[in-house]
Amino acid sequence: MNEDNNTDHVKTDHDKHHHRGVSTRAVEIGVAMFTLILGLVVIMDSRRIGAGWAEDGPQAGYFPYYIGIILCIASAWTVWHAIFFGKHVSGVFVSHKKFRLVLSVFIPAVIYVVATYFIGIYVASALFIGAFMYWHGRFAWIKIIPVSVTVPVTMFLLFEVWFLVPLPKGPLETLIGY
């Protein structure tokens, strides 16, 4: 697995417990606060463009305005529920060990998407699959290279040649005339 220990600085009060990690209550409240803020944004934007009644009927913000209000109420309800009836959120949301595993998939995926901007989706896919197999599967290069080359080449034939659907391309594809 990756060596990064950047999740360890999140020290919690549960250090003495066997499974350390972020508490479900914190995540529950955090997510509900986030949807609450989204609800407020929806309300504010709907007020800005008019949430009332114009000459010719309901204004553009009429429907979203109520959606925002209901979203806020539902989010507040979840927060209230988590604070006062906390039995269902007393556990650990994700242990640090598992969270590292999740990040070890998510961070490479983010890098992959960013890399697609620069080197095209085919080369990025080859590198991504190769790196993933190397770090997670501990495969030998003799297995990594065939897999990580075959998949993008198949994709290339499928999309660019057969279905004529253009995908993001980079310098390598320009080199071979695409």
Binding site: P64, I67, F106, T116, I121, F139, V165
Partner: protein, 508 residues
Amino acid sequence: MEEFSNLMQGFSVALTYQNLMFMFIGILLGVLIGVLPGLGGANGVAILLPLTFTMSPTSAIIMLSCIYWGALFGGAITSILFNIPGEPWSVATTFDGHPMAKAGRAGEALTTAFTSSFVGALIAVIVITFLAPLVAKFSLQFGPPEFFAVQLLTFCSFVGLGKGHPAKTIAAMMLGFALAAVGLDTVTGTLRMTFGTGELLRGFNFLIAVIGLFGIGEILLTMEEGLAFKGVKARINPSVVWQTWKQLPRFWITAIRGTLIGCWMGITPGGATPASFMSYGIAKRFSKDGEKFGTGKMEGVVAPETAAHAAGTSALLPMLTLGIPGSPTAAVLLGGLLIWGLQPGPLLFVEQKDFVWGLIASMYLGNIVGLIIVLTTVPWWAAILRVPFSIIAPIIIVVCAIGAYTVNNAMLDVALMLVFGVVGYLFKKLDYPLAPMVLALVLGDMAESSFRQSMLLSRGEVSIFWSNGLVGSICSLAMLMLFWPLISKLLARLRRGNNDLDEARPVE
């Protein structure tokens, strides 16, 4: 017997070489999607939808719906052989299917599962064939208030029938509506919630949300569990199939009950997953040897599989007749209809006869083809699952990224897909239901326009939703559904005479 001649007409549309080929490809892709973790019916169809934009709508929907049938079949393979449900609706199949496989009866368990799925789906298609035209005819007289009422009922049913906490169901739903509202408002031409960015002009595409929520979110969840597949070997030969088929008629009551539960849960948007659990639970309670459930009883495979397939199939009925999908996958198919330029709803049955009946005929054919394919190719799928997850996971992420990109040819969508992936991971772990969010995202514009038109008709009076018997009863039913969690809690409290609030609430 007008339906019958229409159906024959449909068969003549579906039975071309080209459409049969698409059916075949669809089933194969569907089983693959159903078997692989992280790819499911909804996002499998979402990923492939952009590739069908150039096809004729009939061929496209035949292929995509066959992917859906294939995924329904495929989920059972992983459940029985690997004890890992490939799809949420096949969780209940693991209870008895995997013990059967461990006892050396894998072939029997798989045959039972596939046959039950087939029976459930077949009965559901027959229901669609005869009920859908009636519903469509009936709903031809619907005006905007009635349509909004039916949509309201759909969303309130999620609150009433869902297992999660009502606050979370409502929040997920409203989030879907809010995301649907982003972008250009087509009625007034106003920009909503774009905050000055040009990219948000188009709004959020539900396909991106589906791929992120179900695809990336699922991969993150699977990764957490540190997946290691340990499977049971499976061999199916004709004699096993024959022996199993001879035993199956004994469970006809269970099968019929499962199908009825499935049809009901599919038409009202309960969905395949709760239907399969409900059917399993009821079969366990009513069966002669119910206490032996969980040790490898055939009946315990029949019950959830018939229900799941019946629900998955009948979810297409409200989608075709009312434009209201009963499941996330049906929602994606509905989005496809809109993209191909077809307006789902009662008029579809009048204006696009070939399309509708071709699709219904393909449901019959697709399930027969599907049954034959899965029965003959099981060892092959089991072999795919032995490919290590560290190879499958990056390939699935790559496929999701391509699927997200091809929707609008926009890189921003791929980034958004990752964001939705995180949302999907958090929501799944916190028990927020994803189905109402996806449905709200797909139906948002339609619900808003029928709401607006109703408000225009009544000059802003909400009483229009109780202005006649039809709309009034639908709305009242919707309100009953919305407040059902509260009502059932009150009833339970009255019955027990106990006032412990927290005990009465089923916290799951």
